[in-house]
């Protein structure tokens, strides 16, 4: 059992409610969402709610509402985060109602979805919130029954004093618990005592999803609300010159056409303020279709941007200088630019031993170059935001991954203080990193401010796909030195991209080799980039794991044995001190997947590829089985092993891994955004190939390493290694290695 200092915000009105001896009756919108449940499933609502702390309130009938702090974009934190609270509160999960917390960092801490850090960052605070409430209930019971606190026990929402045979439901004691001082320290359960964590709980929103309830930003509705759409430049490297709106202004249902400048002059932008088009047009009207039609008619002239330099404040407080070149960029030019840069010496990021001599003395050198294109996120819910700005107050409802990062910019752009902005965190129809960049929220707010009315801004699919914030294009050249006995003696990686390098110099196989050199390079671009499910890892894993596979083959070793030998070296006698992985856990997932997939057992016509990677604090390994049918690769099965510590909600975690694997196969096969003269060449799903049901793996098996390590990321880690597994299976299936993504290119068939 661990004792944790508490630091839970308690709303100031709690004290006043305690003083009057009762709780607060709070509004709830929950009943409406439960109309489709059968009578037995509907929880009777309490007459009164008692707020115990900012994360939970208890009804007089024992029903508990848990506020889930982080925004939901499909990772199912609206189920798994309340599970953490419920576990320590010791409540029957069936009596839990989940409500989304609004943006309120004082009460709910850093509310964000990204970096696979949600559960990891909330692991202690949310359990603490539950434990502290439980403690307050126990104290209330001890005081009421006039018995020692240590003798109070709880079980599934009931308090007991067994020596005197007394018991009470949480609901009966909730009123008294409100008056109990918040404990300064609480005891958290041992992992072995968990009853809720580690058991699969159904998605709390599934019923609303399958019955089509309004829950997404796109569905937001308010009386008198207008619809807005934007018109942004058709190409990166262009900006607004002039607009002729005379015709469009007379169109049916059109209210106004306005120009928006998203940032005040000289505003100190942060890294999540990335926006290629800070000056755009907005059309406002009564209905979506009217605005959509007007948008097509608007006559706009664009002009080239001039080169500029910005200082960007990183979220760790660091400042970076960013050069934005003028000009219209093309994929062809990017590729030749990358070739030139890759041929020059890069910036040395890590060097162990004497790689130069090792390569000089090598009996054999293997050198391979890997390449991947820009990718668009293509969340199924296009960007959108609701804003109602009146005077010095603003109400926002938006699908946003990191509300805390958009808030200061919003306040500065609107010229109103942060504390006057209320933000509701709607469910996101996908995020994948894209909805961490909140320019669309600022745009909606500026439109509302200018027209003085509530407005919902909707991006069309085309606006969404051509707006930027892409996964960058990358390239990596790997070189391996082998001695005359086919031992790997040195490894050299030189990686770069436009506009950033993908390299993680201290990740495996760094630390497993006496001689290692890592270099990087990058080139500026006016095409904006942003986080995309496992940034940089989503390229490096594929390149590295394909290369290791090829080297393993050259050394005559089994690809898993080859990796395990390297990991053994890294564990027993690591080279360097900055290696940022645990070699034993890394080997653990490879060993588990080897066993579960029955590696080594051959099946006629089935070609297997293996791959493993560590990122976002979690280890993942895949074995992918591929067959060829009429020249087309079919992914028959992916067997996956993951070490993410304690798995909070196993079936939901499996769902995430299945999704990451399918998403990875899709992007490895088809994912690609290209540019011509600054124009994105794909603007909707007729051009941008997404994986569809018939192309998804036919079966996915997910296994977790069982341990008692605090939980780490799940959303991203299973994604990067799938690129390597696809590449390695494709080689086995076709006899040819593929170095350039997407592996199935435009023709979608293999030769």
């Amino acid at each position: 059992m661990s004792i944790i200092k508490t630091s839970i915000a308690r709303r100031s009105f709690l004290k006043s409610s305690a003083l009057t001896g009762g709780g607060l009756m709070l509004g709830f919108s929950w009943l409406a969402s439960c109309q489709t449940k059968t009578e037995a499933e509907i929880l009777a609502m309490p007459k009164e709610w008692f707020e115990i702390n900012s994360y939970l309130k208890i009804g007089d009938n024992g029903v508990v509402t848990i506020y889930t702090p982080n925004p939901e974009f499909g990772q199912n934190v609206r189920t798994s985060m309340p599970m953490l609270v419920a576990e320590e509160l010791d409540i029957d999960w069936k009596k839990v109602v989940v409500e989304q917390a609004p943006y309120h960092p004082k009460n709910f801490g850093f509310q964000f979805t990204g970096g696979s850090r949600g559960i990891m960052s909330r692991w202690e605070p949310l359990r603490m919130a539950g434990a502290s409430a439980r403690q307050m209930l126990c104290t209330a019971a001890a005081e009421t029954w006039k018995v020692p606190l240590e003798e109070i026990t709880t079980e599934a929402g009931t308090l007991f004093h067994k020596p005197t045979n007394q018991s009470a439901g949480y609901g009966e004691m909730a009123s008294a618990a409100v008056g109990v001082p918040v404990p300064t320290e609480v005891k958290l359960k041992d992992i072995k005592d968990f009853k809720i964590i580690g058991t699969s709980k159904k998605n709390v929103d599934a019923q609303d999803i399958v019955t089509g309830k309004s829950m997404f930003g796109m569905d937001y509705q308010k009386e008198g609300m207008l619809i807005a759409m934007i018109v942004h430049p058709p190409a990166f490297g262009m900006t607004l010159k002039s607009v002729d709106d005379t015709e469009v202004k007379t169109m049916s249902g059109i209210k106004d056409i306005i120009t928006i400048k998203s940032y005040p002059k000289d505003y100190q932008k942060g890294s999540f303020d990335a926006n290629a088009f800070p000056e755009i047009l907005a059309i406002v009207g009564n209905s979506t279709w009217q605005v959509m039609k007007a948008k097509k008619q608007l006559k706009v002239e664009w002009k080239p941007i001039t080169a500029s330099t910005e200082t960007i404040l990183g979220f760790r407080g660091d400042k970076q200088t960013k050069h934005i070149p003028a000009g219209l960029e093309s994929t062809d030019k990017h590729r030749s630019q990358m070739e030139i840069l890759a041929a020059k010496p890069g910036k040395v990021v890590r060097k162990d031993g004497d790689p130069t001599s090792a390569f000089k003395n090598a009996a054999k050198i293997i050198e391979r170059t890997y390449e991947a294109p820009f990718l668009a996120h293509n969340c199924m819910e296009p960007l959108n935001a609701f804003a109602d700005v009146r005077g010095d107050r603003a109400q926002i409802a938006a699908p946003i991954q990191i509300p805390g990062f958009v808030m200061p910019t919003l306040a500065a752009s609107l010229g109103i203080p942060v504390e006057n902005i209320e933000m509701e965190l709607t469910r996101m129809g996908g995020g994948f990193g894209r909805k961490a960049y909140g320019h669309y929220v600022i745009e909606a707010a500026l439109i509302s401010q200018k027209i003085n009315a509530p407005v919902k801004l909707i991006y069309t699919r085309e606006d969404d796909m051509t707006n930027g914030i892409y996964r960058p294009t990358y390239q990596a050249t790997y070189r391996a030195a082998l001695d005359s006995d086919n031992n790997l003696t040195a490894l050299h990686v030189k990686a770069g991209g436009i506009p950033e390098s993908p390299l993680f110099a201290n990740r495996f196989p760094a630390g497993a080799l006496d001689n290692y050199l890592a270099e990087e390079w990058s080139a500026d671009s006016n095409i904006t980039i942003g986080a995309f499910r496992a940034p940089r890892s989503n390229f490096m894993a594929g390149a590295e794991q394909s290369f290791l596979d090829e080297v393993a083959e050259a050394t005559g070793k089994d690809p898993i044995d080859f990796r395990l030998d390297l990991l053994k070296r890294a564990k027993e006698n690591p080279v360097g001190e900055k290696n940022d992985y645990d070699a034993a856990r890394y080997a653990g997932v490879l060993e588990l997947v080897r066993e579960k997939a029955d590696w080594g057992k051959s099946q006629s016509g089935v070609h297997r590829g293996v791959s493993a990677y560590f990122c976002h604090n979690t280890y993942a390994a895949h074995i992918l089985d591929m067959t060829m049918e009429e020249g087309k690769p079919i992914v028959q099965k992916v067997c996956c092993a993951i070490d993410c510590g304690v798995v909070v909600n196993p079936d939901a975690a499996i769902n995430m891994a299945e999704g990451a694997i399918t998403d990875g196969v899709g992007n490895a096969f088809f994912g690609e955004m290209t540019f011509k003269e600054g124009v994105p060449e794909k603007n909707n799903f007729h051009q941008y190939r997404m994986i569809r049901m018939g192309e998804a793996p036919k079966a996915i098996e997910v296994h977790f390493v069982e341990n008692k390590i605090n939980p780490t990321g799940m959303g991203e880690p299973p994604f990067p290694p799938i690129f390597g597994a696809v590449a390695n299976a494709l080689y086995k299936a076709t006899g040819e290695r593929r170095y350039r993504q997407p592996f199935l290119g435009e023709e979608n068939v293999l030769g």
Partner: protein
Amino acid sequence: MAIFNLSINGKKQQIDTDPDTPLLWVLRDHFNLKGTKYGCGIAQCGACTVHVDGVAMRSCSLPISAISEQKIKTIEGLSETGDHPVQKAWLSHDVPQCGYCQAGQIMSAAALLENNPNPNDGEIDAAMNGNICRCGTYLRIKAAIKTAAKMG
């Protein structure tokens, strides 16, 4: 503008709108039926799938002028209490991640099972080919369709 008489989820409705307005926006903007989603606007993603006389159609590309007597069914009208076999199967497999595409997936699946109560893998793939799930829940969708088929 013109007046259209519609039958949506068993209810007679009237609307005065531009004849080229897609059914999707009539449902979402005029009747506040937000379960039918906008995903692409060009019938490529399936998020807007509804039933028109029992046939799965992409409402984003269906002008309201093309509809007269046909019965329109949206996710909100698939069942009264959310207990259509497809919906029940979706819950039992805990299919959704972000959930945005799922209404469209469910409507495509329900139409498939209406015509083919016991589809094989190839038939499911073909019927569901027009519905994109960016989260990659295809395996669960397929499993849920098979479960729904068994429920009959």
